[in-house]
């Protein structure tokens, strides 16, 4: 089912009457049956958005549609959503079975059918042998699965996940995110999840929304967003190691770093711009510009070269085979990989 947010706004007012716009005029359409990630730095309003979709927060303005139904004023229990909390919120005094059964107790479902559904869900998430344990006896990954099973057992229209992987260790995280992707594919349920971890978001989402200060920055499929960031914030936010940001200018269709290092050609108005170049978009080129290396780090397959142009420190990520400890190397930027941003607005120049 498609979810539409129309000019969704949430304003929090603290005791002194100071207003914080947690979510500001957010308009997104989340396509049916997809896994969509809401990504942004801490305090960007992504969890607030999720809780508004869940109905736990009341929006200050705007509307939420599930398909054609306006659910903005609907109570959470009537929306048909499943929510997995960041710390899972499993009831500690109930067994796994009772936990998964809990949402069914509030529906008009016979006991036998409920038991069947619980086992079906437990099988889907792979915890059918843990049903009689208490949550405290399970590992973090298993607790996560129980939480997902509990959210899915009543067949919700939408599944919402709040930072689903943040409480897991690195290895479990990898495993669980594949698991979430699998469960989403198998059930075909429209899923929205919130994260601050770009790798997590890029690896599992079909579509990704980046938020900053409650304002939507860009929505696209993850790779597109990485390759074609719409503004400086998105460019800086995505990518590890981060994108190189330098001041540059365009003169007669040529893009320069500083005064005389040409890195690309671009038809745009002459003037000063901000350039973004991803570290992996540098390459060795006999015709390129000279740089003095400050530091070379070999990281397995790749080599990180630190150098400076003018007073800016930059990083380049190149193939390990081509680096032999030279002091001076020649680099150029791959064609079409220089991102040019407006100096005032930070908006990309196409």
């Amino acid at each position: 089912m498609e979810i539409r947010l129309e000019q969704l706004t949430k304003v929090f007012t603290d005791k002194t009457g100071k207003e914080t716009r947690a979510v500001d005029d957010l308009t997104i359409t989340i396509p049916s049956g997809k896994l969509v990630g809401l990504l942004g730095p801490s305090g960007c309003g992504k969890s607030t958005t999720l809780f508004m979709i869940a109905g736990l927060h009341k929006p200050s303005g705007g509307k939420i549609f599930f398909g054609d139904d306006d659910v903005t004023r609907l109570a959470p229990e009537k929306r048909g959503i499943g929510l997995v909390f960041q710390n899972y919120a499993l009831y500690p005094h109930m067994t796994v079975r009772q936990n998964i059964m809990f949402p069914l107790e509030n529906l008009n479902i016979g006991r036998e059918e409920a038991t069947k559904l619980v086992i079906e869900m437990a099988k889907l998430v792979g915890i059918e042998d843990q049903l009689d344990k208490k949550p405290s006896q399970l590992s973090g990954g298993q607790q996560q699965r129980v939480a997902i099973a509990r959210a899915l057992v009543k067949k919700p229209r939408v599944l919402l996940l709040d930072e689903p992987l943040s409480n897991l260790d690195a290895r479990l995280r990898l495993q669980t995110r594949e698991e979430i992707k699998r469960i989403q594919r198998e059930t075909g349920i429209t899923t929205i999840f919130v994260t601050h971890d770009q790798e997590e978001a890029m690896s599992i989402s079909d579509q990704m929304v980046i938020l900053d200060f409650g304002v939507q920055q860009q929505m696209d499929i993850p790779q597109n967003m990485y390759n074609k960031p719409i503004n400086l914030f998105v460019a800086k936010f995505l990518g590890n190691p981060p994108i190189n940001i330098v001041e540059g200018k365009i003169v007669d269709g040529k893009v320069f770093i500083g005064d005389n290092i040409q890195v690309a050609t671009r038809t745009a108005k002459n003037g000063d711009y901000i350039l973004g170049i991803r570290p992996e978009d540098f390459r060795f080129d006999p015709n390129g510009f000279d740089v003095d290396t400050k530091d070379i780090e070999h990281i397995g397959r790749d080599t990180m070269i630190r150098f400076s142009l003018g007073d800016v420190d930059l990083r380049a990520l190149v193939d390990s085979d081509s680096v032999h400890g030279q002091k001076t190397i020649k680099l150029s930027v791959k064609a079409g990989k220089t991102h040019v941003f407006e100096k005032e607005t930070g908006h990309v120049v196409l």
């Binding site: 736990l56 499943g82 929510l83 909390f85 919120a89 009831y91 005094h93 809990f102 009543k154």
Partner: protein
């Protein structure tokens, strides 16, 4: 002045260093001359050293009296002045106490107070705690108000209650002599009741004691439950709300199990406390625990503790102290049995 403070601080620092280093030197000296055992105490000896003050006081005022009353309950002809006694009887004193009509009445009175007031107090306390947790404005103000009875003297509260429920056979038709309770009854067109004075019935007096016990016990329970409720993660409720659980269901399936350790603690302590009820009856009825109602004789509202005190009052007679001791030991046994039963039930029902 400032200079003096500085000097004092320096002096204290030097004194501390002197003591510290001298103790280090001393223990080094002992170590070197194979005398380490002087400063190296075994762990249990250290523990006893630290526990000594508490243990001393407890021994004098708790362990010895319990042990002694246990002994006295087996004596015959015990004289509290001289400490002399004629001999031993195995269960003679117990048999006398158990067959005494007043003791049976005292057990009945106490049991009614325990089994009626404790559950009611816990249920009302829980509901008030949930309500207090739900209100936002003036939260701490209300919490303070509900805690006030706890810091107020039991007897003082009892006197207020006695005043509220005042009115006897003779003054009952005279509006001046009526307490608040009877005035309310009159407003609604009822007939005033002589609650605790002459003309009262057993149940009218008992109901006042029960109301008082409930009210007097509420404050502490509310505070404990409120602390427990505030420690519950809000996300459990949000999760339950999304799953369509009603408020009543959230209360019974989430709040109650999650604060079950507090409920259990309150249950055990208040059952023990109620078995020892004394001062509330004194405050509401009188020091005799008896209401004289003229021709019909008197209404006996003595609790077990009353019964024990009555015997202690007559302990100048040889052997009477043994009855008091036997009654005290019986009370101890009753409380012990109930507490053990509760602990056993609690093992299965309480979620820590």
């Amino acid at each position: 002045m400032k200079d003096f403070k500085q000097k004092l601080r320096d002096f204290l620092w030097k004194a501390r260093n002197t003591i510290h280093f001298s103790s280090v030197r001393t223990s080094e000296f002992f170590q070197k001359h194979h005398l380490g055992f002087i400063t190296r105490w075994p762990g249990w000896l250290k523990a006893i050293f630290y526990l000594a003050p508490a243990l001393t006081l407890l021994s004098i005022f708790t362990f010895y009296p319990i042990f002694n009353s246990f002994l006295i309950s087996f004596y015959t002809g015990y004289n509290i002045q001289t400490g002399e006694y004629d001999g031993f009887t195995f269960l003679g004193n117990y048999a006398v106490v158990l067959q005494h009509a007043n003791f049976k009445q005292a057990v009945l009175n106490t049991a009614i107070i325990v089994f009626v007031s404790v559950p009611i107090t816990i249920i009302i306390g829980l509901l008030i705690a949930v309500a207090l947790n739900a209100i936002k404005p003036l939260k701490s103000f209300y919490q303070t108000i509900f805690f006030l009875p706890y810091v107020t003297n039991t007897i003082a509260i009892g006197l207020v209650f006695a005043f509220i429920f005042s009115g006897n056979q003779n003054t009952i038709m005279n509006p001046v002599g009526l307490g608040l309770a009877n005035q309310v009854i009159t407003w609604f067109g009822g007939t005033p009741i002589a609650w605790v004075a002459s003309g009262a019935t057993y149940w009218s007096a008992m109901s006042v004691i029960l109301v008082y016990s409930v009210w007097n016990g509420l404050a502490f329970k509310i505070i404990v439950f409120l602390a427990g409720i505030q420690g519950i993660d809000k996300q459990y409720y949000q999760s339950a709300q999304i799953d369509g659980a009603s408020r009543a269901k959230s209360f019974t399936r989430i709040t109650v199990p999650l604060i079950s350790p507090m409920i259990f603690y309150i249950l055990i302590t208040s059952v023990i406390g109620s078995f020892k009820t004394y001062s509330s009856v004194v405050a509401i009825i009188n020091r005799e625990g008896l209401i004289t109602t003229g021709s019909q004789g008197s209404i006996n509202l003595k609790t077990i503790v009353f019964y024990i005190y009555d015997y202690i009052g007559g302990a100048a007679l040889n052997g009477v102290m043994s009855y008091a001791s036997a009654a005290a030991i019986i009370l101890f046994a009753i409380i012990l049995v109930f507490t053990v039963i509760q602990l056993q039930v609690g093992k299965r029902r309480v979620h820590y």
